[in-house]
Amino acid sequence: MNRKLVVLVDIGSTFTKVTAVDTGLRSIVAQSSAPTTIEDVSQGLKSALLGLQLDSEELRQARKLACSSAAGGLRMVAIGLVQDLTAKAAKLAALGAGARVLNTYSFQLTEADREEIIELEPDIILLAGGTDGGNSENILHNARVLATLPQPVPVVIAGNRSAAKEVAACFPQEFSTYIAPNVMPQIGKLQVDPAREVIRQVFMEKIIYAKGLDKASRLIDGIFMPTPAAVLRAGQLLSEGTATRKGWGDLLIVDVGGATTDVHSLGAGLPTRAGVVVRGLPEPYAKRTVEGDLGVRVSVLSLLEAVGADAVAQETGWPKEEVESRAALLHDNPETLPENEAEALFDRALGRLAVTHAVSRHVGRLSELYTPAGLIWVQEGKDLSKVETVIGTGGVLVKSADPLAVLEGAAQQADALLELRPEKPEFYLDGSYILAAMGLLAQEEPEAAFDILTNSLDSYKLARREQ
């Protein structure tokens, strides 16, 4: 048998998942998973690879690419000058690189900020501030503060181009500094892709060693990116297509987890109706947001706080006290699975509310403005109302008995018509759990990745309920 085998590995915080694909036949050959072994990730990886039950010589020869969200994922701090400008741009860049953004700072870092950063122990600091040729005083001040951190941290400098060299020079030898193009070279112009790529390089070169993930490296060819970056990459591939494959166009990916709900959108998000004025910072074509308070297990208490226990009570028909006690139970025992119809319904309600709220925070919105020239509409953020594809991923959705009911939280809601959510999307499920894997494969064989991904999604197309 002469097949072209590639093995894609996702080292997650609890499970190490492996997918073997035949890039010639464009098919999934085998999938397996094993618990992640934090002290030496190669153990868990070895078990997962064995689980594929492939010929050992064929497995040895196959190319193996990995992404990882183990050991806390990629933890970052983003720093800019003005909160709504360079600080926001820095945060968007870090999120797009697949990071968990621990905090975002604006203006001059204070002594208290410095203390907090020491506590947060970020893996990488993204330092921005000032447009090109603009303010340099602030980023220099912040560099001098960061240079006094007791533990050296890799710093990606993506601020005012004119000050970049001087900023790098503020740091002592032990700090590694990387200069990337400005995340906001001009007011109103966002340029996050180059900084994102530099962050990915630093992740590959430094962070996986710092986290001990390199122990896996004798079994695989390398850990190339954080898992969320791989998911975003898969979305980008699906949206844009390849030289010979037509992409699916604008799309939305929702990933519901126990701790967070991630939303990825691919699309320019320009106004879709006439007479709309766009305000605020433009948003990236490939945009990722992470809601740390909207999860269905570890973060279930903050989810309840955000959506209100009454909303859950209403969706489930349970008394409020029961909602609260079930939530407390799920929080304390995150591995709990529903055991009967009612508990499944409860999980579904939590999932749906997490999706509804996470998408609400991700999409743009319209507001009315009365001017002497009459009523005008102001759009802030991305208009995703004409997006035709919504994909659900993550354990909660994939294991759900009724994923459609959960995912429908992403579409337009009758009580929030000014939120620019997809109006009439088709819903798909990442049923074979391969988005991250195909994002990895896209780095080397985009056409094969595109074909395998579209085949899988097409087989998990969810029927749209009649409204």
């Binding site: 400008l85 000032g130 447009t131 040729g133 001017t371």
Partner: protein
Amino acid sequence: MEAKTLVLGVIGADVHAVGNKILEIALTEAGFNVVNLGVLVSQKEFVEAALETNADAILVSSLYGHAEIDARGLREALIEAGIGDILMYIGGYLVVGNQDWSEVEAKFKQLGFDRVYPPSTLPEDFIPTLREDLGM
């Protein structure tokens, strides 16, 4: 000598876009680095853009007669942001009806504007003064 940076915009709920575009073109041609915020610009946006770009001057337009309400407090906001010394111009249809120009000018100077221009001011009417004020 490095180009001077100007922040340009139409303040408040004003959507007059044409003059704003003309100013952007004329000022760019005159060699300025123009940061044009467009129409419907809030005070906050003027302040933040000036901060990030280290601007040398802010040029505010208003063409619908509500400039006094919209611009009141802008100088104070700039002072709070630590760039209170920045040069600031305003021009356009600043008030409703035919009011005595010297009174209008005095009112806006009191709000913290260094120069105040009446309707129909052409770019060439104020660019030489702007150069002078910026020490060019």
